[in-house]
Symmetry: C2
Subunit: 218 residues, 2 copies
Amino acid sequence: MKKAAVILSGSGVYDGAEIQESVITLLALDRAGVNVEIFAPNIDQYHVINHINGKEMNEKRNVLVEAARIARGEIKDIKDVDVKNFDMIVFPGGFGVAKNFCDLALKGKDCVVEPVIEEFVIQALSEKIPLGFICIAPALLAKIASKIGLKLEVTIGSDVETAQIIESFGSTHIQCPVNDIAIDKKNKIITVPAYMEGEGIAEVAEGIEKLIFKLMDF
Amino acid sequence: MKKAAVILSGSGVYDGAEIQESVITLLALDRAGVNVEIFAPNIDQYHVINHINGKEMNEKRNVLVEAARIARGEIKDIKDVDVKNFDMIVFPGGFGVAKNFCDLALKGKDCVVEPVIEEFVIQALSEKIPLGFICIAPALLAKIASKIGLKLEVTIGSDVETAQIIESFGSTHIQCPVNDIAIDKKNKIITVPAYMEGEGIAEVAEGIEKLIFKLMDF
């Protein structure tokens, strides 16, 4: 039985993990017969957003505690993970990736990555664990890869500004529709635009399911 | 194009809507070509639970604001809904149904239902709108039905205590495995045990997909 690690950045598209992408990922993995463990970093969210009006709320929330909502409590701190235990690792998207895992949403190409995430992803890249990065997460991946001089081929769909940021990290951006994936065979990396490009949950699921299916092949 | 209303009780199994059941519902509806609108009541949650350790947190959260996380902001207050606009209505489960929509989790058969939810469901029952109730939500439905002398046939799986509560409301409980549904043809009601019975997301999805598929038939 193959084993996957799914890494969540909170719970909610505007300040955490994109919930629909996260659940679709968990469902596709379970249906593929993959044993799944879910992880998140034990850090504060950058902020808390009211998802109705988009305004910042005067609250503090913890990424690991909020991500546990998606995981039904079955979640662990990412700091203790050995990447070698897994056959694949998947990062769903959401602004949590660009606000909690790094500050890409605020600083663009000058972003800084949260150390526990940077260390985890560098280990995964070094060990050549097959990686699936969804939505905005491929931009984080390209940033971390640049730290070890690795140039990847990834997609975030067709958003020009984000594509330019990815290219500034030395990676190549591939245009891709919501229901398809970009494959970096050499580095065993699959990326998919999901809600960077998608309008509805069914087309987002089509792309993510392709990503999981292809990850099983590596 | 058929239209569905999905009613959420927050965001997180222990104090709100069960996230995985909610997303699976939205995905199955979109795949079936159904136009979906999402609603929640604008009320405070009964409490906030840390989903890692199960303990109550010293916080206040609003059901509508938290449910908006699952809905990516596309959600409206249930108080303004006309049930006649919809071909079907679906209630995912989670403790939010038994803590925010009523106090079943605390008071059992002596529970009281939140007025805005009671009024909405009584209208739906009176208009004979096809209804899908998931997980613990069928117990809420049986309670509300008892107010208008309606006896239903529903399932929450095989939990004896909850089944007895449902029978105390005058409805009949039908034993049902996680991957199947109970059909009350006369009242156009489909119920499914989901995480009341399920261990994994794939088997939970199998049942919910059957529920949506069957709702399309009415």
